[in-house]
Symmetry: C2
Subunit: 202 residues, 2 copies
């Protein structure tokens, strides 16, 4: 029913995270009918993306490729504390922490979490790269900012054990009731963590 | 925080229907991190889309551009009844009707519905093109398949009035309880239409 080219665009759009056949069709029809040149510009940008943007050679954040090297904005920023390293699962998490403005150090993006059910064991994590980074940069404090999920907690425990031998201070981000959240509707685990992680304010 | 190129990709993706800033970022990060070449191939396809695919010159369905002309699969299909014309709002609606297999005629895609609140009056609808199409193709029956919404009903009424002078049979798609639907949870208007539109089966 639809032109072959448009069907191929739909197939490719359906690879995006959370996009099914219907949504891909909606996007493709919009792009084909749009007369403002969105499809053409997006096409040029995407075709050039691979050669121009890739994970940062140091931390895994996304970075511009310059002379074959990719070093991201955070790693280039000299005002950042190189001795403070925050370990996150994904680039999205790094961006969320950056938006909070609460992190003055640098990052290390794991790319994946321990997940025995999905066959991701310790060997699949970039532990060697992480140790090298900690040693080379003289990191003295590591913040484990993997999510407070089963996989995230398991990963944090593994990293804490791996990094213990390097003599760095290791901390884990707090888990508890979110800002503006309601105790009444919090789940038991979250509430338990909020109590366990209480801080003295007196 | 993110490379300029990636931010531009995010801005363009955010133009897609129903896509906000967060979703656009999710798509862009996926495309930038993906190593299977989805971004590159999608880029090439999208860049070429405008020159290769555009609304059908006759009905508005999407069609391959061949020698400067665009005639869609439905309009090219000689087995279709040229005298039966189904009028729809969008290409999506045409595709849905095609999937049902219930339409043996051809289509006319309006592209928009009457919508006084959004400033879309009768002058914004392709009424002249529609009349020409009806006359030139010797159309004898028109099915008004705009959606059973306020705007869709208003548009159907306007079209019925416009087409009355051309001496064609005009019908409106049925509105009622959907197949597998539950009377208990149907809204009043739908239920009223189901009763009003009842058909004799005796």
């Amino acid at each position: 029913m639809l032109p072959e080219r448009l069907r191929r665009v739909m197939e490719l759009l359906a690879r995006l995270p959370g996009v099914g056949e219907k949504t891909a069709q909606r996007y493709a029809l919009y792009l084909a009918a749009d007369r403002k040149g969105v499809a053409a510009e997006l096409g040029v940008e995407l075709a050039a993306l691979g050669a121009n943007v890739r994970p940062c050679d140091r931390c895994g954040n996304l970075a511009d490729v310059i002379d074959g090297h990719a070093v991201c904005g955070v790693c280039r920023d000299r005002r950042r504390e190189a001795r403070l390293l925050c370990i996150v699962h994904r680039v999205q998490d790094l961006l969320a922490i950056e938006r909070s403005g609460a992190m003055r150090g640098r990052y290390f993006v794991l790319g994946r979490l321990l997940s025995p059910l999905d066959g991701v064991g310790p060997d699949e994590l970039p532990l060697a790269e992480l140790s090298r980074r900690v040693r080379e940069d003289g990191v003295s404090e590591v913040i484990l900012a993997t999510p407070p999920s089963v996989d995230g907690e398991a990963t944090a425990l593994l990293l804490a054990r791996e990094l213990a031998a390097l003599g760095v201070t290791i901390s884990r981000i707090a888990s508890g009731i979110p800002h503006g959240g309601d105790l009444e509707f919090a789940d038991q685990v979250t509430l338990g963590r909020a109590i366990d992680g209480r801080r003295s304010i007196g």
